[in-house]
Structures are given as C-alpha cells and as structure tokens.
Amino acid sequence: MTDDIDAALEPEPEVPEVALPERPEGPTRRQLAERAERRRAVLIALFSTVVVFAALMVLVVSAPGWPDVRRSFFSWHHFSESLPDVLPAFWINVKVFVTAEAFILVLALLLALARSSRAPVLFPLRILSTVYVDVLRGIPVLLVLFLLGFGVPALRLDGVPRDPVFWATVALVLSYSAYVSEVYRAGIDSVHESQRAAARSLGLTSAQAMRFVVLPQAVRRVVPPLLNDFIALQKETALVGVLGPIEAARQAQIYSSREFNFTSYVAAALIFLAFTIPLTRLTDWLLSRQRTRISGGRLA
C-alpha cells in the first residue's frame, strides 16, 4: 500500500517520444461516419415529419365534415372581419395582465415571507397568511370577480372606485397572489437549512439571512414556475368581460353571436397565443438552462 503511494508521489518518468504517423488533412474516418449518421437522422426525421403531417392534412381535409368545420371555424372572410374588432379589445387584457402581474409579484412575496416567518411574535401573521392562501386559492376566480366587481361598488361607499376593470384586476391579484405565494414558499423551503445556519453563524440576523442568502437562491429557482402562473394569468384576463368591459374574448363572442360563426373565437385565440407562446418558450429555455446549471454544478 505505502509503496503504491510513494510510487504515485514520485515524479512521472519521462515518456519517450513516439513519432505519431502523419495525420492526413481533413476529417477522420470516424468524423465522416458520424457526419453521415447525423445526415441520415435528419433525413429520416424530415421524411417521417412530412409523411405524418401530410397524412394528417389529407385526413382532416378529406373528412366529410371538413367544409363545415372550415366555414364555422376557419373562414378567412370572418377572420378578416372580426380581427380588426378583436385586436384593439385585447388592449384591455394587456393592461389588466401587466398591472395585475406587478402587484401579484409583490403581494405573493409578502405572503410567502409571512408564512415562512419563524418568530413567535409573528404567529398571528402566519395564521392570517395561511388562511388567506387556503381561502383565495379555493374560490373560483369567477366568483371573486362577481363578488368584488358587482358586489363592492353596489355598497355605494364614498371613495370606493366603481370601475369594473379596476375590480377585475383586484380580483385577479387577490386570487393569483395566493397561488404565487405558494410557489415562492416552495422556493424558500428548497434552500437548504445549512445556508441559513451558515448565514446566522456569520452574524446575520434572521431577517438578513432571509434577505441576502435564502431569497436570492429561492427566487432564482422558482422563476420557471412563476412564469407558468403568469401564462395562466394572462389567459384569465378574459374573465374581465363578465363585468361588462369588452375585452378580446368578449368581442369575439359579440361577433360570433351576430354572425353565428366561430372564426372570431379562433382569431381571439390566436391573439392570446401570440402572447403566451413566447412566454412558454422562455419558460422552457429557462428550465433547460437551470437543469444544465444544476447538473453542471454537481459534476464540477
């Protein structure tokens, strides 16, 4: 055993230089083979994609109901007629979404911090935030919307706004901050206890440990699920319409009820997709980056 270690510690013996055979210019045989393999894979993928999609197209278009389906859902005439109405209405959705998102991020973080607090004196805060999350997460958004949107203004209190868009935004904020606070909390819980202990041992207070050590790691981890919730929120803005304002989905419904054609809904759906798909792709990208980072960290 000790001999082995001694041997290992000794300087490496000189390796006599061996003259390598002259490598010919250009790729090696192995590289060539790999390249051919890749090309074959691409061709097969391309071929199978084309075949499958062509078959799907033929199947759909030749289906007996297709002309009816196209007339009701994919009529170019109704699409170009309804889009100019639906697109400007989407502005309400955007406004509600952006405003609500900003407030949700803050309110949800406060809720999560309240639930994660450990000081005995903050116990009532923990109870309150737990009850809040339980209740608001359990009520359909639509009900919250009706309760606040029609209910509160009907009290006719002085100084209380009556604007339905305002109340719709409030309802979404209340509802979604309950969800999002749970996402934050999961992130906070996922930071190992030793991080907090180490921070405390360095002299940081509990609050400082949370602020400078736990939260930065926690938030970073939950960015993808946060985005996921915002995609959901973005779609939920269509609920604003039940209080009267004409947002994109409602505008589509108005068109549809007038023309007995569903293409306007498809137009509205496309507008929503144009908004959500980039968000979805961003989430995917962040997730995959995170996966690489974590596994990369482990290997190092």
Partner: protein, 295 residues
C-alpha cells in the same frame, strides 16, 4: 337513436302526405284546407300528426331565470306571465292539454343559433331579425316591442330627452340582443357599450352604478325599475327604428313545419282577442314612458 327518430319522423311525414293526397282527411280543424291554396304537401295540424321533439308532448324552450312580466316566479309551467300564458294558449289552440306541455331550458343566444333544436318552439323575448331568420325560423310576431332605457332617477341620465343626451352616457345591454344593437347602431354612444352575459349582470352593473343606463325591452324595463332596482325609472322608450315595429316571435328549428301550425294558432288567438286579453293582463303596467324620438 337520432337516426331512428328521424326515420320515424320521415315515416310520419309520408303517412301524413299520403293521407292528404288520398283525401281521407282527418277529423281535425285543419286550417290547411280552408287556406284554399290546394297544396297537397300542406301538413295536418292535428296533434297526432305533428312532428314533435318528444312524442306526444309540446316541448317549449325558454331561458332561466324566467323573469317577469314574461314569466312569474321563474316557473314557466304555472301559466302566469305573458309568455307563459301565450305558450299555453298556443298549446291549447293546437290541441295540447296543459300537462302535455313540457318546458326546457334554452340559453337566449342558443335559441336562435343555427343547428338542431331540442324544443318544438322557444319563447324568450326573441326579436325577429333578418340575420336570425337565416339561422332559425320565426313564428309571426306575438308582441310589438319597443326598446327602453332604465337609469337612476336622481342621475344625469334621467334628464335625457333626446338621443344626443344619451350619447355621453355609459350604457350597457345583454350580449346578442337587439338592445345592444340599438345602443351601437342607433344611440352610438361616445364610450363603448358595456356587454353582459345576461340581463341579471346588466342589472347588477346598473345597481353598482358602473353604467348610467341599461337598454332593455320596455316591459322588462318597467319591471326592473318598478320592483328590482330601487331608485331607478324608465328614462324613455324608443319608437321602432325601421318601418316595421320590432316584434317578438317564437323560434323554431330551421324548416320545422310546426311553425305554420303555430302561426295558425296565433292568428286565431289574435282574431278572437285572446292575445290582447293576455297582453292586458300581464303587460298593461308598461303603458306610458316618455318617448325619446330617434330623429
């Protein structure tokens, strides 16, 4: 199931056609004969010859909640309220007894959407319009209706006496109604109209003062202001915007031959004065509201 019942209906049609052609006639009060147009395909309106959604019963559709003065207590089966009474009068005229009438819930906008219907006719304050007529069939009108606007008596809206006075207001109406069309096409307010799933939501918004006024048919407007939302009044009613008065009609699946029989029934209800009596009984409250001229 659907195929079978369709086959059965076809069978019934053939049998009926055969009967009429053969001149056997049936023992009913067939108006087709008195029409004198001599069409052999004219169907019989005898109860046993009618093609019904459910065998042996007349299935009538309306939305829920069914509200006054059209229905009473959200209960179409009690025969109370204008439309319930009209439906039972028509059923009686067709030869159905009261317990041969069943009601089914049909959302307002679905009533006149294209497609197969699970009612024989729908009676739900549906105005007859050319667009809707392409998707479904309508009976003759059973009520001439004016649009009206309801608002709080102490609000600025209450002083409106012309269309111009209304343009600056926030107005609301139910989705897919002629009331909404009226706001957009005739009043043309400066601020976009608010649109609600149903009249209840529109009323809630008015009650919450999120809108200055909601547009409804006149009898509903009277009911809302008199009994539902305290402090509101019918600010005004609007005369018909076209040459024809706006009319409520019963809705039938496109091409349903029952329509002609119901029209015969309606005609005899009009001739006998029965329809006027029903209107007097249920809609006489909605008499005078200030008229807001369109010109």
């Amino acid at each position: 199931m659907a195929v079978r019942s369709k086959a059965r209906r076809l069978g019934a049609l053939v049998v009926v056609g055969g009967l009429v052609v053969a001149g056997c006639g049936s023992s009913d009060d067939d108006d087709a004969a008195t029409d004198g147009d001599g069409e052999a395909t004219e169907q019989s309106c005898a109860v046993e010859d009618l093609q019904l959604v459910n065998d042996g019963v007349l299935t009538v559709g309306t939305d829920t909640p069914a509200f006054p003065p059209w229905f009473v207590d959200d209960e179409p089966t009690n025969g109370e309220g204008f439309e319930s009474a009209v439906a039972y009068a028509v059923a009686d005229e067709l030869g159905f007894s009261e317990d041969q009438v069943t009601w089914t819930t049909v959302a307002f906008n679905n009533a006149f959407a294209p497609g197969e219907k699970d009612f024989d006719f729908d009676i739900n304050q549906v105005s007859i319009t050319p667009d809707r007529d392409e998707a479904v069939d309508f009976s003759d009108g059973y009520y001439d209706v004016n649009q009206a606007i309801v608002g709080f008596a102490d609000s600025a809206a209450a002083d409106a006496t012309s269309l111009d006075d209304l343009k600056g207001l926030k107005l609301g109406a139910q989705l897919g109604t002629t009331s909404l069309d009226f706001i957009n096409d005739v009043i043309q307010p400066e601020q976009e109209a608010f649109v609600y799933n149903d009249n209840n939501a529109a009323k809630a918004a008015l009650d919450a003062q999120q809108v200055d006024g909601i547009v409804l048919d006149l009898p509903t407007a009277f009911f809302v202001s008199a009994t539902e939302i305290e402090g509101t009044e019918v600010i005004g009613q609007f005369p018909a915007s076209g040459d024809q008065p706006e009319q409520f009609g019963m809705v039938f699946e496109d091409g349903n031959p029952l329509r002609d029989c119901v029209n015969d029934a309606l005609a005899s209800l009009k001739d006998s004065g029965r329809l006027d009596e029903i209107e007097q009984e249920w809609l006489s409250d909605s008499v005078d509201a200030p008229v807001i001229p369109l010109g």
